[in-house]
Symmetry: C2
């Protein structure tokens, strides 16, 4: 599950081409085949440009060629700007000419229905065989902004050219991508590399992401995603970005049922389950932005500032109100706002007797009379406090000529003294002040809460990058020697995998059951055992709280007869006898197969929380114990495991180890196991045995099952 | 609880003065006393301006006066720009001169500690007695932007003057308020009236809100609130705004524990409980903005567009991706995106065979070749669908000269044909296109999700304004004839108030208990009855599931003896015998007193949901049954009441009536009752009796109580 350097290198001729041909080139820059030529000329693209058009000798001042083969020179990348009907002959020409990559604007493929899907499959097969990398079809192309490669036909870039910078932008939607590109320009954000992936016949968003992860000009990657075809490739690309310490911010649409339906109808791609995307993106340290403003807020922050080395936020404000707004937001997003040390507080109160000095430090309107107070407060905070980040609310000082030193001198000095500190200044800014601060790697925001959110996002990246990815060693796959599992089989399978399970026994007669019960200790539970009965409770196949041998014998007869009556053809092997566990916290541990991401582990508490509040969390398998701990703490009902109403906290370490073990088992047996449902897993305090009490395992070959409900 | 017109009229001389004096006026426009004079002159304020300064004859070209009394003409409003030490003599001068209102910039009052509080109290007492309305002290003043009244000393307005418009802005924080005012200017938002309320010795945010509610130039009111001293006045002002159909958007800080602490230290005001603020603001139809951008996004929408008449949203997009993003957001914020009627879908597919035609309507990149497609799609949607609002994602057409008709002609025509339709166009815009659309009452947004959120907010206002406020008639207060209530008293009190309670009996002997149990029907529960025992379970004072007379007799002895042993001095009156109810859904109904808003009713489900997830909701008492229904549906666990796992839904009507009855009882007895805790209230399906099973009532005079836990 990794993208090899050679795979990435293969995209070099596409995204950083030394020569570009334009098939369907036009002399008219308003046309789809004219625009890229004009853009390349205007951008002074330094490589060779070869217009291809059999009807013209010169195009926009350049020599034109009838075919790609006629060029007679290496062609790294060909832009294909011909109608769908002309695509196959263009691609054949490209293969014959040794073209290494194609950007295909042409529409009329998978987005148009069954015929288009067939045409696209043919196209894909052809380029694979010819070792040509293909972007598109039905895409708006890409921009390599530092190399002057405008391989796009959108006319929008004539209105305003994207600024140069270190932000990579990748969109599965063309119109949306160009809109975002233009919005970035308006916001003053500099772009290194923009890609619209269109129908993704060959190159997917994940490929572009991996390329940007290794692109020295890109330091943060923003994505617009509707759905990934290849979850493994996406995860590998995200891991590559993590290894390069490049934050990834993603706007993934299809969050809701109606949204997912609309996305599916739009892209005809396998939408997958949004909750799983959400979990996997979290697992891989991606910041999931809820809208485009957030995408850019966080992307901007990553592009400018160093990542905070701790979650401690120092807040200074010349308005008490803004200080409150920021500490509210800090608490909400999980940053700490530690009290300033007493000596620091005293130092501030000495200067401004009516200040709030605890952090947030509010130096009040007194700043208007004595501007130096701000710098003194900041110095005092940095002397007496340890912060990963500082945020300073400075009202309108950023557009006030008389307060310019509060923006420039102050923060340039702080930056010089504290290179790793994340600094955000909140104010209105004129362009000059804004640029000054950003050149000093200080963030500028107009919105106090947005500044705090961005700092929290930076800190999350910082934590994620600090994690050493522990290679998770998978066990040998087990031989799934049967199509159907009864409950005893299922529990044995899990026990063999290292999951703690309840010590149950199989009994084939009433006497055997009574004997096993006595050996286990009363009270016990009896469950009818049959691979043919899916829902034991529904057929009267379960007896709870059996207190003595007599009760066990009677129950054996009752539940086997009842089950046999209800499912006459069932092969009833006997019953499972198990101790009746009545304490502990009921959890649900599950494994399902996601069409995009493969085996996925679910965790939640039993009862109403899962059913009504959907208070569950997911992870792609496999994962390590540390990830399992994070997973457990994600559910809203987490405090229940920590002990409420005087209950002792459960043994979270065992729970986390169990989840990690389950994830390794699921990953190792992804080929043979469809799903696992451990419900309940009883989590108990340390020193008492936590265990799976009931389990349902479904193999991929058959849906034979055993369960209890 | 209403603000009389005369109370409001009393603020006319302040906020819309015919004459203004400036006490402490200066010839130097950089000074606190010079700035207002310069502003008034520059703004060509049409009324009289009287600089007051004993040391100068003329100030900034105007005749100056030694004192206010020397002016010899009516003075509607005096700006007080002198240090705290000079305030009292200035105010005495104002009273003598018949000044009707004062704006006091001077700091050095309650914000500086105990001495300052005393000085401010003296100031308040003096102006009350002199019938002078006072804004401040320690405030940045106000701006009446249509009358040219810049009664402020902030130098920021020299950098950029607020645009004129219909948005009122009120801030308890001066620096924050000016920042917001300047930010509004940057966003192109027009302001009618800006107020900074400072220390609120007399005029509170609620007074300014009420004035703007009646101000014809203001049509939407944005507030920054840290805390209200007078909850009743705030609610009355909000009700006044509702009656005038003026949306109120509020940024209330102190959401979190640390934020509330910071707010309290900042304003020294009683912070109150943020959860209660949240509930009351919702109850009064206020949109609570989480940050300043949201404050302005929603405020902007209210200032431009008509409110949607239904929750049905039509989405048209030239990018499928943006369509998905918008439908995601619509579902999240509770707007419906109804399928387009089949005939409409067919009409669209006839034009664009590969469009998504269901709603969102995605007319695809085909728009680039055939711009008229957008207008056709919009016309088709409006012909075949019924929408309260339409949102159109148009990528970069708003800055594209060739696509200007898609912005202007199209929407001008739609507006003319559909005057009440809420329209939002999402694109990048040049100034001309933006203004054109806004003049046609169409919203412009750069962010698709923000547009949908704004439409949802407008729809919430629309629903709120459509509600006929039902006057809630309060019952007569009950005579609280005792300081302490035992459980039997508490249940009787609630039963008399009209709350359904369990049919319990008091028994003073084991035989009596057995007799009552037989009369009620087994199984029963016994609870020791004593006004001296707060927590019956803790002292072994409760026996559950008693199945026969023998068990009841034994339990009587056991629990009374156990309680007597545990609380030797307790007067034990006997026991309460009640049927053991084992079905239904356990709810918690409570009443507490909020320091700001008075009696408040709480609702939630019993068990872990309240304890761990804090899944409860509040309302200020009293409220009607419709409000109670909204309240019940607000908790996350609401589906439990609707019936899960095959359970019948509970009788929500009875639950809502009970909450409304409880709220009336709480309001009528606010003077005598401190708190009520009905835990549990068992909600059962229609036809079965829902009832309070246990109750705790605490009077205000004493904290005698009875409960069960």
């Amino acid at each position: 599950m990794s993208l090899s350097p050679s795979q990435q290198a293969a995209l070099g001729p596409l995204f950083n081409p030394q020569s570009i041909a334009v098939v369907g080139a036009s002399s008219n820059p308003a046309k789809i085949g004219g625009l890229p030529v004009e853009y390349l000329l205007n951008q002074r693209y330094p490589g060779a440009i070869y217009p291809v058009n059999p009807k013209q000798e010169r195009i926009q001042g350049l020599q034109a060629y009838p075919t790609l083969r006629d060029i007679g020179a290496p062609i790294d990348m060909a832009i294909c700007a011909v109608p769908a009907s002309g695509v196959m002959s263009a691609v054949e020409d490209a293969a014959a000419a040794g073209v290494r990559s194609i950007v295909m604007f042409s529409s009329g493929f998978a987005e148009t229905g069954a015929d288009g899907v067939r045409a696209q499959n043919d196209l894909r097969a052809f380029v694979k065989e010819s070792a040509i990398r293909l972007l598109g079809p039905n895409c708006l192309g890409f921009v390599n902004n530092h190399q002057g490669v405008y391989a796009t036909f959108t006319p929008a870039l004539k209105i305003a050219a994207p600024l140069r910078g270190n932000i990579g932008l990748i969109s599965q939607s063309g119109a949306f991508g160009i809109f975002a590109l233009m919005l970035a320009q308006r916001r003053g954000l500099g772009i290194s590399h923009f890609v619209s992936t269109g129908n993704e016949a060959d190159i997917e968003l994940a490929d572009a992401l991996a390329w940007q992860a290794l692109d020295p000009a890109t330091s943060v990657i923003l994505c617009y995603l509707e759905g990934a075809r290849d979850g493994e490739k996406l995860c590998a690309a995200l891991e590559l970005a993590r290894a390069q310490r490049k934050p990834v911010v993603m706007c993934k649409v299809g969050r809701t049922a109606q949204g997912a339906a609309a996305a599916a109808s739009h892209t005809a791609s396998l939408a997958g389950c949004d909750k799983i995307y959400d979990a996997v993106l979290r697992q891989y340290g991606v910041y999931r932005a809820q809208d485009i403003h957030e995408l850019f807020d966080i992307g901007y922050a990553c592009s400018v500032a160093p990542l905070p080395v701790s979650d401690a936020l120092g807040i200074v404000s010349i308005s008490g109100g803004a200080g409150v707004l920021m500490v509210d937001e800090a608490e909400r997003v999980g940053l700490s706002v530690p009290l300033l040390a007493e000596a620091g507080q005293q130092a501030i109160l000495k200067r401004v007797p009516f200040a709030s000095a605890v952090n947030p430090v509010d130096i009040t309107g007194q700043i208007l009379n004595e501007p130096a107070l701000l710098a003194d407060a900041v110095d005092t905070m940095l002397e007496h406090g340890q912060y990963g980040a500082m945020v300073s609310f400075q009202a309108v000082t950023g557009i006030s000529p008389q307060h310019r030193p509060l923006v420039t001198e102050l923060w340039a000095r702080v930056r010089a003294a504290h290179p790793p500190l994340t600094i955000a200044v909140v104010s209105l800014f004129d362009e000059q002040n804004r640029k000054f601060l950003e050149q000093h790697r200080c963030l500028t925001f107009e919105e106090p809460a947005a500044a705090v959110r961005a700092i929290a996002a930076l800190h999350a990246f910082s934590r994620h990058f600090a994690r050493q990815p522990v290679p998770v060693a998978l066990p040998e796959p087990v031989a799934i020697d049967r199509a159907r599992f009864d409950e005893a089989d299922a529990l044995r399978l899990l026990a063999d995998a290292g999951i703690p399970v309840v010590s149950s026994r199989v009994a084939r007669s009433a006497d055997e059951a009574a004997g096993e019960a006595a050996a286990l200790g009363f009270p016990v539970v009896l469950k009818v055992l049959s691979a043919d009965i899916a829902h034991k409770s529904d057929v009267g196949g379960v007896a709870l709280r059996l207190a003595d041998s007599q009760a066990v014998r009677a129950a054996f007869v009752r539940i086997t007869e009842s089950a046999a009556r209800a499912v006459p053809n069932a092969h009833i092997e006997g019953v499972l006898v198990a101790p009746m566990i009545q304490d502990g916290v009921e959890c649900i541990l599950g494994v399902t197969r996601d069409p995009v991401f493969g085996p996925v582990v679910m965790f939640g508490l039993g009862g109403i929380l899962v059913e009504v509040l959907k208070d569950v969390t997911f992870r792609q398998a496999p994962f390590d114990v540390a990830e399992a701990h994070r997973m457990i703490r994600e559910i809203r009902a987490w405090p229940v495991l920590g002990g409420v109403r005087g209950q002792a906290p459960v043994d979270v370490d065992t729970l986390a180890e169990t989840l990690a073990t389950l994830s390794r088992f699921a990953a190792a047996n992804a080929g043979s196991i469809e799903s696992i449902d451990i419900n309940p897993f009883i989590a108990r305090p340390k020193g008492q045995a936590s265990c799976a009490v009931d389990a349902l395992v479904v193999s991929r070959t058959s849906r034979a099952l055993t369960d209890e409900d």
